[in-house]
């Protein structure tokens, strides 16, 4: 496994920013790191990079305990921070040369040329970083993280503030590196998780509340399924869908019925038959699959319920 966290905690004063988190990530995986603001995503990432020291637990990167082999483990990590700090007075190429020097890259020129090409920065190579747009600065940050061809790539909200085209470009770049790298990236954007990730970790208030492949995550949360049913002609007495076997609950909004039922027991034929028998005209029947966004909301809300602020 490329990255192993076991029982990692980080405490600021009395508050546990990260509370006993354990997970492992291997080569070829793109791990999506989800959580509301202040959940401890960035803190966890900073601990993996070796910038912050954990107060408890161990972190290993490529088999090296970060706390004991700080400099060695950093050689295997490429990191793009959320704020993407750059030396804005430097030229793009000059900045990459500086990074190549720090990493002691043997043939810096060909590596820098390759990165300028693959991040689409060729035309910007001789511009001052401070004059570039946010999207291009983000690419410079990404090129910097990739300069030493690291095995582990940690990207903290790499697509925030980008426009649609830039977003697609950066996503494609991340996806293209999947095979030979271990990628951990945090995001707010749910579509991104579904588009890119093989696995999702959700953190809330410093605690890990879900660690699943996307498909499993959906299954785990929704033991039940949702059906939207629209009826054109409503009789005086409300139809009793709840009496149908397998139906768990019914919620009514005017002529829309939201029916939840057991996942392995498709109630649609029974509902259709019931409607025909009672003279109800069905004008819409739609099976709703929950997306990651809903799952995320549901999970983090559950957690927050106890401590209403």
């Amino acid at each position: 496994m490329s990255v192993v966290l076991s029982g990692v905690s980080k405490i600021y004063g009395k508050q546990k920013a990260v509370d006993n988190i354990s997970f492992t990530v291997g080569k070829g995986e793109i791990l999506g790191f989800l959580g509301p603001n202040g959940a401890g995503k960035s803190t966890t990432m900073k601990m993996i990079t070796g910038y912050l020291k954990q107060d408890a637990g161990t972190i290993e990167v490529m088999g090296l305990p970060v706390s004991h082999h700080e400099t060695e483990s950093k050689k295997h990590i490429g990191y793009l921070s959320e704020s993407n700090p750059l030396y804005k007075e430097m030229y793009v190429r000059e900045y990459l040369q500086f990074n190549a020097q720090i990493h002691q890259i043997s043939k810096p020129k060909s590596r820098i040329d390759y990165l300028l090409e693959s991040t689409g920065l060729i035309k910007e190579a001789n511009k001052i970083i401070g004059t570039l747009s946010k999207g291009y600065q983000q690419r410079v940050g990404l090129a910097q993280a990739l300069i030493h061809d690291p095995e582990v790539l940690i990207l903290d909200e790499p697509t925030s503030g980008l426009d649609m085209n830039q977003l697609v470009g950066i996503r494609a770049l991340i996806k293209s590196m999947q095979a030979e790298k271990t990628i951990i990236f945090s995001t707010h954007i749910m579509q991104e998780v579904q588009a890119l990730c093989s696995r999702v970790i959700i953190i809330n208030e410093g605690q890990l509340i879900a660690d699943d492949p996307i498909e499993q995550l959906q299954a785990r949360i929704s033991g039940d399924q949702i059906l939207h049913l629209e009826i054109a002609n409503l009789p005086a007495t409300s139809p009793d869908f709840a009496s149908i076997q397998g139906v768990l609950g019914v919620e009514r909004q005017d002529n829309l019925f939201i029916i939840s039922f057991e996942k392995d027991n498709d109630v649609r034929p029974a509902i259709f038959n019931y409607a025909v028998k009672n003279g109800l005209v069905i004008i819409g029947m739609q099976l709703i699959t929950r997306d990651v966004a809903q799952i995320f909301q549901q999970l983090t809300k559950k957690q927050g319920d106890g401590s209403n602020l």
Binding site: K46, Y51, L52, E72, K74, I77, S81, F98, Q101
Partner: protein, 257 residues
């Protein structure tokens, strides 16, 4: 602990990268040129223009003016050079980024220290022209005490070294450059002059007074400037430099938590 750092040429490559980046930053902004320009203009005014201190009005061919004014100019100039060292990097978040790179804290410290020192020494270099002028103006020509001047330059070199270390420490305390500058000037002033004033208070006997005076940079600078290279003075300066660099590193490491 310290000397080991310099034995490893492989490891000094990262330090070299920091050093080059810092030097480039001085000269890509106006900082480098302003520092050198201001320093030379002020010294030139005192040495050749203002009648009270001008050597043209003076009866002797010496460079004493340079060596008595330079600490005062450096008191403001060096904190102005070093104020951005850490304050700016902290404010922009680039220091955090440096600490995620495979580079050690001491490599960042010494890379920055040597770059700051280099810039101030570059400013000092043209003052050799003043030496040439005084040499030519002497009657008979060349009638000046070159040995004492060499000693004074060595003293000034150590003084600059100490001021740069202090200035970097001041910059590491805050993420505001102005605070870094004011604190740097204040600490330089305290370390250089305050002990002298304290020693002159009519409170102590001669022994205590001498001891207090020996705590300040001033007495050691004066001692080396006289041309007497005393190992105690050199040890004192090196201790101040290493002490403040250690404090700087400690301050930065503490913030990483």
């Amino acid at each position: 602990m310290w000397p080991r750092y310099f034995n490893n040429s492989q490891k000094s490559k990262e330090m070299g990268a920091i050093y080059k980046k810092e030097i480039a930053a001085f000269f890509s902004s106006l900082t480098g040129y302003i520092v050198i320009g201001v320093f030379l203009i002020i010294l030139g005014l005192f040495m050749f223009i203002f009648p009270d201190t001008s050597l043209l009005e003076y009866d002797y061919a010496t460079m004493d003016q340079l060596f008595s004014i330079a600490p005062l100019v450096f008191l403001f100039l060096i904190p102005a050079v070093t104020m951005r060292s850490f304050a700016e990097e902290k404010q922009r978040g680039t220091l955090e980024y440096l600490y995620t790179k495979p580079i050690k804290g001491w490599q960042i410290m010494w890379g920055k220290y040597l770059a700051n020192l280099t810039l101030v020494l570059i400013a000092l270099l043209p003052t050799l022209l003043y030496y040439y002028s005084v040499y030519q103006l002497g009657s008979p020509q060349g009638n000046l005490d070159s040995g004492a001047i060499l000693g004074s330059y060595i003293g000034l070199f150590f003084l600059v070294g100490a001021f740069v270390a202090i200035g970097m420490f001041a910059s590491a305390i805050s993420d505001n450059q102005i605070v870094g500058f004011i604190l740097g000037t204040l600490i330089c002033f305290i370390v250089h002059w305050a002990f002298l004033y304290l020693a002159n208070l009519p409170l102590w006997g001669v022994d205590v007074s001498n001891f207090i005076q020996s705590l300040g940079l001033n007495s050691h600078y004066a001692s080396i400037s006289k041309g007497a290279l005393d190992s105690r003075d050199i040890i004192y300066f090196i201790s101040v430099i290493l002490g403040f660099i250690w404090l700087t590193q400690w301050t930065i490491e503490k913030e990483r938590g």
